[in-house]
Amino acid sequence: MASIVLRNVDKIYAGGVKAVNSINLEIKDGEFMVLVGPSGCGKSTALRMIAGLEDISGGEIIIGDRVVNHLPPKDRDIAMVFQNYALYPHMTVEENLAFGLKLRKMPKAEISKRVNEAAKMLGLEQYLKRKPAALSGGQRQRVAMGRAIVREPQAFLMDEPLSNLDAKLRVSMRASLNTLHERLGVTTVYVTHDQVEAMTLGDRVCVLRDGLLQQVDTPQNLFDNPVNLFVAGFMGSPSMNFVNAELVRGDGGASVAFAGFNLPVPQETFTEKPGLDQYIGKKLILGIRPSDFDDAVIANGHAGGWARLPVRAEVTEELGSEINVLFLIDAPPVQHQDTVAAADAGDDEEAALPLVGDKSLWTARVNSRSHVRPGQNIELVVDTHNLHFFDPTSGLAVGHPANARV
């Protein structure tokens, strides 16, 4: 096991396209690091550079205490799991698992010991004599994992390993990946475009966009304290609601005004987010997570101090345990490049609804006991302690420690 350090790593393709732009990333020994971002953000390129399958154009990559910039993949002592599994179709499962060990001239007894251990761990024992063509998708995926495990490498690299599985299998494989990592404790770099996978698997998550590193943090921190509009919009599903708003301070304390609503901003927020007071009387972008809403009727008990927001439900998505309420607010959609980029990357369920004039569509996640129907009026409450504020020009989160230095 080893740590992996990327220092000012660049990747410039022929033609001058910068796929990866001066990335600095330190992956600790035994850590599960997820690289996430929309397609074309450079996450796979970054992974392939760590693997040695792509040259790096600048900077250095350090695995353990070795600079591996020009080492071929086989000398880096890392194993990779590919999106399409890349099993050798003419070899049995057993031969697939043993191939890498045989090439390393490992004694036969040791090979069969490791292969059997891995097969047992992954529940593949009865399939050892089969060829990949005779396996189901989930079994092939496990063989691909097994091929990495038997090598006992310094680090695992995984390139969207679950994306070819059906939804249910993906959830169970996600869980077994988690247990596997806890058991083996091997440094893992995992690439995905699925933010749910990123949130559930990662010790830390690294969000990339257009080859630029946006934020590296624990999943919860990414969700609670996104560093900019892009991260805020990309992480979380349904994604964060944005609106152009104005921060004002009146007699009853500060409040944020948008689309005819006026939400009070608690005094603590100003201490939590240093620099926010400089925006008083100015425009900024307000962000509210759908999960910070609730139905006023249901939430009456615990919503002390929460602001109320009467709206008309346009569409409701009932998910069983909760309902997504889509409603229009009387303000134009935020056209910051970061929110647009994040929306493009996310699942475009909202895009299907024709927007009327200069209204924007928001989503609130309310308790399923609300029983709200499309077309009904509903009074929502907002947890004003979890409001997010972004600078309208730079798109950076106001008061985020990473932005304070700048």
Binding site: A51, L53, P73, F82, G100, L103
Partner: protein, 292 residues
């Protein structure tokens, strides 16, 4: 305006509807008939080769079935007396190396063209493909001169080299197009597993390309086995293959059928055996590259 209603089974091809109407049995019978018809010349050749010379000269081979007494292996004996065995071994000595060399060299070249990065790779490949259209006839005289200078004119090595040179463009073209169809991640996985370029070629790509290699092998084998032109030009009488030996048995005024028939039939058997042995791969290989 007319309105149409949709009813009945979905529309299918004309052929499949025709088959349904007359029934699969009739079609199959027709296929068998065509197959038999195609086999008649081969059968005739075989019958001629086992009849007495006199019988062949007086009646057609199809009358032989009523008089089985005419059958004899004497023609085969006569054939062997002409020294045909040595020309058979010459054919083998030309065909086997010419086939193996083409497969070996072409597979390595195709791997490089498909998977290795080197300057000028694509233009070079275009040149190789361009060589496909060069007819061998234009090379006969220059190569004959070259062989003369090298001192291999008339030898088996010269014939083999000529076949290899003119077999390679097609072989490289075929295999390269098969190789690029192999998913890149498979090679990358092998690279991560610690395989060298040679290892990837020999343990991953080559086994996967078996169908393509088998069909290429059959093609090349048949071309060389049946070749007459190259042998006529480059092989002297000590090194002549069967085709040239049979050709030299032709007379200006007479067929000499008792020697030609058994010789031609013997030269047929080996390719037939080979084809049936690899027939499964051959069909697969024909599909390879056409549909990915």
């Amino acid at each position: 305006m007319t309105t149409s209603t949709i009813a009945g089974a979905p529309r299918r091809g004309v052929l499949s509807r025709v088959t349904d109407r007359i029934g699969g049995g009739v079609i199959q019978a027709l296929m068998v008939l065509i197959g038999v018809f195609w086999l008649v010349p081969t059968l005739g050749l075989f019958v001629v080769s086992i009849r007495e010379e006199a019988a062949n000269n007086s009646t057609g081979w199809w009358t032989a079935f009523t008089k089985p007494a005419e059958f004899t292996l004497k023609s085969y004996g006569d054939l062997l007396a002409t020294g045909f065995t040595s020309s058979f071994w010459n054919t083998v000595a030309i065909t086997v190396p010419a086939t193996i060399l083409v497969i070996g060299i072409a597979a390595m070249a195709a791997y490089a063209f498909a998977w290795m990065d080197f300057p000028g790779r694509d233009p070079l490949f275009l040149v190789v493909v361009g060589l496909l259209v060069v007819p061998i006839q234009i090379a006969l005289i220059p190569i004959a001169k070259l062989y003369g200078a090298l001192g291999i004119f008339g030898s088996i090595a010269g014939v083999v080299l000529f076949h290899v040179a003119f077999g390679l463009p097609f072989a490289i073209f075929l295999l390269r197009n098969f190789f690029v169809g192999i998913p890149a991640s498979l090679l990358e996985a092998a690279r991560m597993d610690g395989a060298s370029e040679w290892r990837i070629f020999s343990t991953v790509v080559f086994p996967l390309a078996k169908p393509a290699i088998a069909s290429l092998g059959i093609f090349q084998f048949l071309w060389v086995w049946n070749d007459l032109l190259v042998a006529l030009v480059f092989a002297d009488s000590d090194n002549q293959p069967m085709t040239k030996a049979l050709q030299s048995q032709m007379r200006q005024f007479g067929t000499n059928i008792d020697i030609l028939a058994p010789g031609a039939f013997l030269s047929l058997i080996i390719p037939l055996v080979l084809f049936f042995a690899f027939q499964r791969y051959f069909v697969q290989g024909m599909m390879a590259g056409s549909v990915k």
